[in-house]
Amino acid sequence: MNLGGPSVSAFMPRTRLGGHAAGDRQNWARPSAGASETQPVWHGSDSGAFRTPPLVAETLRAYGATIRTELQRYLPSGAPKLHLYDLLGDYPARGGKMMRPSICIATARAFGADLAEALCSAVAIELMHNALLIHDDIEDGSVIRRGAPTLHVLHGVPLALNAGDTLLLLSLRPLLDNADNIGPMLTERILRETERMAWESAEGQAMELGWRRDNCVDLDERDYLVMALKKTAWLGVIYPARVGALIGTRSDRNLDRFIRFGFFLGVAFQIQDDLLNLSADLRYGKELDGDLFEGKRTLMLIHALREAQVTERRRLTELLARPREERRPADVLWMRNLFERCGSIDYARRFAHGLAGAALHECADIFDSLPDSRDKVFMQSLATWIFERT
């Protein structure tokens, strides 16, 4: 793969931090900012007051820009443009946090790899994520994604589905191209890792969709955690971190610890995402109360089903049994109020804080022994950042 000079040299934080020469990893690894700017500070779960160092946002911006530039190279531009290739570039062009691919790069670099060795994998992760978003939106009947109508709303389900399939296929290209940088054996190892992630994600998605179809209302926290581990945490954190570690260490020893770290961080992220859905503003980019309209089995819903009075539980079960289009705004408002009455929102928030704390603990197990670097601090700060994002 030819990275070209611009995409690497355009990666800002190395030079922004104290004016070190780009490519000088040792200098880059030494944070010049003060402790408060580089260390995450947790002010306690009750107050909800977190302070994440600004370098998290900076790193996401910098890596995000590099990944987007590289990702553009993989988007075909020929025919059939109107019915396929324009659709492939739609979701990536809408932005996104770039958390997943940035985790891959940051992990690889924290372990000593060059950006160029991890960039292809990061691009692949972002392509996979966008492909699955298209499929998720169809399966969930979502109408808004990143502040605009979903792809199937714009183009119809058949074309959107086909675009999602193509994007998923396309995501394998950068992984294969990376053989030039990391060799065939590591490439093959990462492909196996990709296959594992795909299985886990498919199983998690099937669990959640099946619960909705069969109107399962006897779920508990264990069910939820297993589903969220598979559906969210694998692609969201575990896979990117494990691929980054494979590239950074050239070894697959101790990869289980990334499952622990990724599980806690990924599920905390998912719960926070579901909480944001109940208080969505324009920056969130999704439909307000979309999860309630979809009957999504969130931690809040599982808690409310358990804590509600018998009559409330009966009504909630009946509402969940209806198809999405038959769930009226008044029904959804009632469900929101029920969550408040049962303390389900506060419960989910505290639950997520607990998981994030465990993620910090597991993160320390992985990264504390590594030399100081902005990538290391980035990874250590994600557990607090997820509660500050919008």
């Binding site: 193509t166 030039d180 060799g183 054996m185 196996r192 264990r222 697959d252 465990a358």
Partner: protein, 239 residues
């Protein structure tokens, strides 16, 4: 007749049914006896979330390990699936079948571009029976070390000198020949991927009736047949 005092049930210590998941299993027991998270001043919900989280993830890890073990056992029973080229060829086949859009991906995989030169050398003396020796490549090409596994009832010395011309070098050996023409070659020599760590393994099986002597051959790139090193196995006479 004395009026007996009417029996009463004791007032329950709880005022609502126990429906929380925390009342089940060890976690609930710990909570009721007392002191686990209360003593540490940790919010119950947080303590329960973390405790349950660890149980769920450890169960998943166990399942993953069991699956990996069964997969590894299955894979070991068919050596050809472990062969590096088989993996690449399978990948190529799958991608060819998938869609025409993949053709250039296939080309990217199968073409061998010029890359950094690398040198890997191994010179190891094995004792009778199986032996495994690790060899570290100088530049990490191929993602890590190459191990050498020798199955032989007699002592054998293995010298591997790899000088791949491309980072995509996938080694292959056709056969190792003795000095004397017409004599039986050593043919059971192959490279495969280790299912444990994904690294390359050179596997050599020396037949019991193979004549002692020096067996040499060229290591070639399996895609281009370009030479990329040499392999020499010296089979000693029985002690």
């Amino acid at each position: 007749m004395t009026k007996q005092e009417r029996k009463k049930r004791q007032q329950p210590s709880r005022s609502a049914p126990k429906r929380s998941f925390v009342s089940h299993g060890q976690l609930g027991a710990a909570r009721e006896t007392g002191t686990a998270s209360h003593a540490a001043g940790i919010d119950d919900v947080i303590a329960d979330a973390v405790s349950l989280g660890y149980r769920v993830v450890e169960e998943q890890l166990q399942q993953g390990r069991r699956a990996a073990r069964s997969f590894r056992n299955g894979a070991d029973s068919s050596p050809e699936t472990q062969d590096i080229m088989a993996v690449i060829e399978r990948l190529v086949r799958v991608t060819r079948d998938a869609t025409i859009a993949w053709l250039d991906v296939v080309t990217a995989v199968t073409s061998r571009k010029e890359g950094k030169a690398a040198s890997v050398s191994a010179d190891t003396d094995t004792k009778p029976a199986a032996a495994t020796v690790g060899v570290s490549p100088s530049n990490g090409t191929g993602g890590g070390a190459i191990s050498v596994e020798v199955k032989s009832k007699r002592p054998a010395k293995v010298t591997l000198d790899l000088r791949p011309a491309s980072p995509r070098f996938v080694p292959m050996v056709h056969a190792l020949h003795p000095k004397t023409p017409g004599k039986r070659p050593l043919t059971d020599v192959r490279f495969r991927l280790s299912p444990d760590d994904g690294r390359g393994v050179l596997v050599i099986s020396v037949p019991d009736d193979l004549e002692p002597g020096n067996y040499t051959g060229v290591v070639v790139d399996s895609a281009t047949d370009e030479p990329g090193g040499t392999l020499c196995v010296r089979v000693h006479a029985e002690d």
